[in-house]
Symmetry: C2
Subunit: 306 residues, 2 copies
DNA sequence: CTTGCTTACGTCCCGCGTAATGATA
DNA sequence: TATCATTACGCGGGACGTAAGCAAG
């Protein structure tokens, strides 16, 4: 393959014009350049492409005519590569791999994805639920395009905050404190605590007790939020959580209550992370925009509004 | 179209290897060159083709995968151009335009072409009969691939001699001299002459009389050899000719006789001419070879052997 | 003498390889 | 530290244009 697309295009121009001079005007390239390109093609293929009629242009040999149509096809297909590029960059389509943090994935993902899939039917969605470390690793390995999770830092990561998720108090609906407008951690000092036992949340909730100067009295723990809710609904104790399922009934059928926590704790930040090193697909950009529109501190799909 | 086939082939190699290093070994090109080619393609198309995994190679993006198959197709089609070239240069096929000088075309062409067409059925023959000037002009204009004619010179022409055609004496079969083994022009000095009146032959035959010191006494002339033969057969006079039809009966039904001319005249040279500037097709080469085998001074298709 | 392809030649860009740098596991 | 990709950089070939050459009508 010692020839170039450029040579072929010059050849085609000359073949269509039956003249190097005319072709040179059309292609805006000098006569000698076109002449040389043709000579090189002839040498490369060992085939005479043109008859030269000295003072009156040239004409294709039979072999040249066959080459002309083949070359035209090739150039057309080469042009199709540009079309493909346009399609990829302008069309919102293709695969889109979304990750979400385990605890709010069941609330957020279905709502978010149904709407997005409706708006962009040519995008094929894949959803993953994982803990934060896994999400970050997969983003870095480009196994995920985007992930919804709590704030992450890292030079190669881009985090865009979407909403604040203040910690709230979870109580059984019939609890004596459940009717209070809001509570501070001190008000709950005597109550046993049910811990959501996940890598990040574990340390986070413990730090709140420390800040408030309240002893941590863990009566049960689980890495599943739904188990925590059921424990609490059963009257085992209270819990602190950030994600707020709309459903106020635990999986065991018992009712729950959410209460403001009016201590001055920094709220968790919900947002999306992408890899800085990777050029955004249109689909990714569209999904980002979709999230910006759908998710705010006031309103998060699948979550109870404050 | 600001990309090259070379860039694409590097990209394909890298895409198949999922590694620039491995690709560089396969293609025998340095790592940086391949890296650069890929970067240029990405810039050209505005599409990210690979995810870079720093110490462990790279992997195609979804867009990259689509580009990979498109690029492979394009390269394959480009390779097909080489196949086309091979086919054209190796196959004996395609059009072949043969010219022959008027006077011996009716003798030579049919015999020659029937045999050749049988041997090379994929060659489509076109035959032309013309006088020498026209043949040469058409060879130069590439309207003919090859012509059978008398010796021609010209820097841009190639003449290959095939046979000598000594001038012979044409007499009515019943003529008093017709039984002689051979004759010289002097023996015929008293006889009237019938001239084949064609551009070259005209001067040639006249020159023979001059050389022999015999006066030229033209009783009839025609530009058609068949008319000359009928004149002679009718007893109008004798003629000198070079082409020797196998048929010893003139078109008017009267018998003819051929006799050696034993003067020391330079014989006409029958051969084939081609244009020096034009690369020979395989079909042309095959036809040349066919002529070499079929035509010699001893034996010329369609002509009386001496 | 005009037309049109080719050759000659000088310039500049670009593809190439070597070597150094960066980044990750 | 080993492995890959990327950047830096100098070299050489090739694509380009200008100008001259050349053949044909």
């Amino acid at each position: 393959m010692r020839f170039t697309l450029k040579q072929l295009s010059y050849f085609v121009a000359a073949g269509e014009a039956n003249s190097i001079t005319l072709a040179s005007e059309r292609v805006h390239i000098s006569q000698p350049s076109i002449s040389s390109a043709i000579s090189q093609l002839e040498a490369e293929f060992g085939v005479q492409l043109f008859f030269r009629h000295h003072a009156q242009g040239l004409s294709l040999t039979p072999a040249g005519q066959r080459f002309l149509i083949a070359a035209r096809e090739l150039l057309q297909q080469a042009g199709a590569l540009n079309d493909l590029a346009d399609e990829i960059t302008t069309t919102i389509a293709g695969p889109l791999r979304i990750g979400a943090f385990r605890t709010f994935a069941p609330l957020l993902l279905p709502e978010l994805c149904v709407d997005f899939a409706e708006a962009h039917p040519k995008v094929s969605l894949e959803m993953f639920e994982d803990d934060e470390a896994e999400l970050v690793a997969k983003i870095r390995k480009a196994e995920l395009d985007i992930a919804l999770t709590y704030e992450q830092d890292g030079v190669d990561l881009h985090f865009e905050q979407l909403a604040l998720l203040p910690t709230y108090v979870l109580l059984p609906a019939g609890h004596g404190l459940a009717k209070s407008g809001s509570l501070s951690l001190k008000d709950l000092a005597s109550q046993p605590f049910v811990l959501l036992d996940l890598p990040v949340s574990r340390e986070y909730f413990a730090s709140l007790f420390e800040k408030a100067g309240v002893p941590l009295n863990i009566v049960a723990r689980s890495h599943q939020p739904e188990t925590v809710r059921s424990y609490v609904a059963s009257g085992l104790g209270f819990s602190l959580l950030t994600a707020r399922p709309k459903n106020l009934t635990a999986l065991n059928g018992r009712p729950l209550a959410y209460l403001y926590l009016d201590d001055d704790f920094p709220p968790m930040k919900l947002g999306m992370i992408t890899a800085r090193t990777i050029r955004k697909t249109r689909a990714v950009a569209a999904f980002e925009e979709h999230c910006r529109k759908s998710i705010s501190t006031r309103s998060i799909p699948g979550m109870m509004n404050w």
